[in-house]
């Protein structure tokens, strides 16, 4: 460790009273949140892991399908959705974006930096909105890049052996764009949970419960109940958004892709508004 030599505090500029002009500018607060996000390794690593896992799993899924297409049953061939198959990796990527969405918020509380942040910007809804905007934009870019790359790479692996999807076919572009949108809004939902819960472990547990455990519980319930609630589960909404064939793979009725997206967006909005409401009232 480098030796620290104290410097005499003689270089402090004389006190100047700044003019009271305006309030915080959004540009500064957004830039600050971007600085915070890009300057910790957890962001980079979460995204690298997400990228590698998602694309790798997409390659595995499409390559496997290509190799066994010749032996596939008629039913399998009728239901085959090359778009959805190439986006399989995003089902794993959704965990990474959820964890990142939680950490971006909960690390402020875990490390105590939230107090420095709120001292600098006492307008709490503004801080929360800026953080949400920067994170959602980042998640959207990363989600769309992964979704489109997975699609192109996946169709490449399918070519020659199995049917391929092209953007000219109905619903394909919607499903590929939908993959990135799903990732972005799911991440925002995770961030909202973390704003409410404020602890990393608790928020990740809540997120994983909603995403992974609720579908298992739902499936174990009588189908009369499952038929009602399955469509509301975020993971099912994600599958529908990334699927071209409607009704594909689902036993219970589902929302249409855009209705599902609106419902998911509603979850994220409720979590963020509740988090913001609590944040404005709780002691930091």
């Amino acid at each position: 460790m480098t030796l620290i030599t104290p410097t005499a505090p003689t270089t402090i500029a004389p006190v100047t009273r700044p003019a009271r002009s305006g309030h915080h500018h959004w540009s500064g607060v957004l830039a600050s949140e971007w600085t915070k996000m890009r300057s910790v390794r957890s962001t980079t690593w979460s995204l690298v892991v997400m990228f590698v896992l998602s694309i790798g799993i997409g390659i595995l899924a499409t390559a496997t399908e290509a190799s066994r297409w010749a032996h596939a049953s008629v039913a399998d061939r009728i239901l085959f959705d090359p778009t959805s198959l190439s986006l399989t990796g995003l089902l794993f990527g959704q965990l990474c974006i959820g964890v990142l969405g939680v950490i971006v918020m909960s690390s402020e509380y875990g490390t105590g930096t939230i107090r420095a942040t709120l001292a600098a910007v006492p307008n709490r809804p503004m801080i929360l909105a800026a953080k949400a905007a920067v994170f959602t934009a980042l998640a959207l870019v990363v989600g769309e890049v992964i979704s489109f790359l997975s699609f192109y790479i996946g169709q490449g692996f399918l070519s020659g052996s199995a049917p391929q999807a092209t953007f000219g076919q109905p619903g394909v572009l919607r499903a590929v764009i939908g993959g990135g949108l799903y990732i972005a809004v799911l991440g925002l939902f995770a961030m909202g949970l973390a704003t409410v819960i404020r602890h990393t472990a608790g928020a990740i547990t809540a997120f994983a419960t909603v995403l992974l455990i609720l579908p298992l519980i739902s499936q174990a319930l009588p189908s009369s109940i499952n038929d009602v609630i399955a469509r509301y589960l975020p993971a099912n909404i994600g599958v529908v958004m990334m699927t071209v064939h409607s009704g594909f793979r689902s036993d219970a009725p589902m929302f249409s892709p855009w209705t599902g997206f609106a419902v998911l967006f509603g979850y994220a909005a409720v979590a963020m508004v509740l988090g913001g409401w609590l944040m404005a009232r709780r002691d930091a």
Binding site: V29, S42, V121, A284
Partner: protein, 313 residues
């Protein structure tokens, strides 16, 4: 200038801050003194708009903290050591704060230089020692070149060199006309740094006065004399109007006459002195006496409180 009026903060049944009112003025270091758990940190967080008081209000430069346009340019605070993401560099930590208040990169480098962290500015703060964390916190407080500064136990974790540096920094900041409010649970530290005191115990105001008044009011000044002819000297000193109290270890505590006078009296009666030393009861003792009623986690029951008073009082 910082003002608190009727400030009250409750956590469930516990009253952390109880109807606290005080003022902190510019141009001097004001010590915020109280035993651990007396509500100093809670009060500072309420001034910074972080915790919401149950009653009362605080103002900085006449306005509520939430109404400051660019808070960092008006108020800087070091509230806790190492309140920084361990994976973020010192520079990026400060730069993120600077961006929200329209502060330049040049100023970030300037404050890093002031606290002596320039050469580790790019290193991850997780590797920092507690002392370096404190320096980084102080850099954050200075970032906006604010006229009002709050420091919560700034010397915690610092080596003697660092403690002296903080003392000088606080004095220099006050000398430049700024309002400097610094908390401590050590009276001795405040005696060296502060000119004014706000003393609290159990969340209540105990005293608000100049340090010199506190010292004059609290300290017992006496001269310790040691001799084998104690009886003779006691008699002769009492004849001059001095008060002489025998101490447990055989010494004499003399008040009412200066040390030089005692030497003259002893010499004129052939008394051989083994010790002649002016004493002042420590400020720490005075402080403990002042706050012993309000120590939250005292070692003894209130009925037993004499034990909390240091020996010799």
């Amino acid at each position: 200038m910082i003002e608190a009026r009727g400030l009250t903060k409750r956590y469930g049944d516990t009253v952390a801050v109880d109807d606290l009112s005080f003022e902190v003025h510019a141009g001097q270091v004001t010590g915020f003194l109280g035993p651990n758990g007396s509500g100093k940190s809670t009060t500072m967080r309420m001034i910074m708009g972080l915790d919401r008081p149950n009653a009362g209000e605080t103002r900085v430069n006449g306005v509520n903290y939430h109404d400051l346009s660019w808070p960092l340019r008006d108020v800087g605070a070091l509230l806790e050591a190492k309140a920084i993401h361990p994976g973020r560099s010192a520079f990026n930590h400060l730069w993120a704060l600077a961006q929200t208040n329209g502060i330049t990169k040049a100023r970030v480098h300037e404050v890093l230089d002031i606290v002596g962290l320039s050469n580790v500015a790019k290193k991850r703060a997780g590797k920092f020692s507690l002392g370096m964390g404190q320096r980084l916190g102080i850099a954050g407080a200075l970032l906006g070149d604010p006229g009002v500064l709050l420091f919560d136990e700034p010397t915690n974790g610092l080596d003697p060199e660092g403690i002296r540096w903080v003392r000088n920094l606080l004095k220099d900041l006050a000398a430049e006309g700024r309002t400097v409010f610094v908390s401590s649970h050590l009276m001795s530290e405040m005696a060296l740094t502060a000119e004014h005191l706000v003393v609290i115990g159990r969340g209540r105001l105990i005293a608000e006065m100049a340090v010199c008044d506190f010292i004059a009011q609290s300290s017992r000044q006496f001269v310790r004399v040691r001799t084998r002819q104690g009886e003779l000297l006691t008699r002769e000193l009492q004849a001059t109007g001095a008060t002489v109290v025998p101490e447990e270890d055989g010494g004499l505590a003399v008040t009412g006459v200066p040390a030089a006078e005692i030497g003259v009296v002893a010499s004129s009666h052939g008394v051989i002195l083994e010790e002649l030393s002016p004493q002042a009861a420590s400020l720490e003792e005075a402080f403990m006496e002042l706050t012993h009623d309000s120590v939250e986690y005292g070692a003894s029951e209130p009925s037993d409180r004499d034990r909390l008073i240091p020996a010799g009082k």
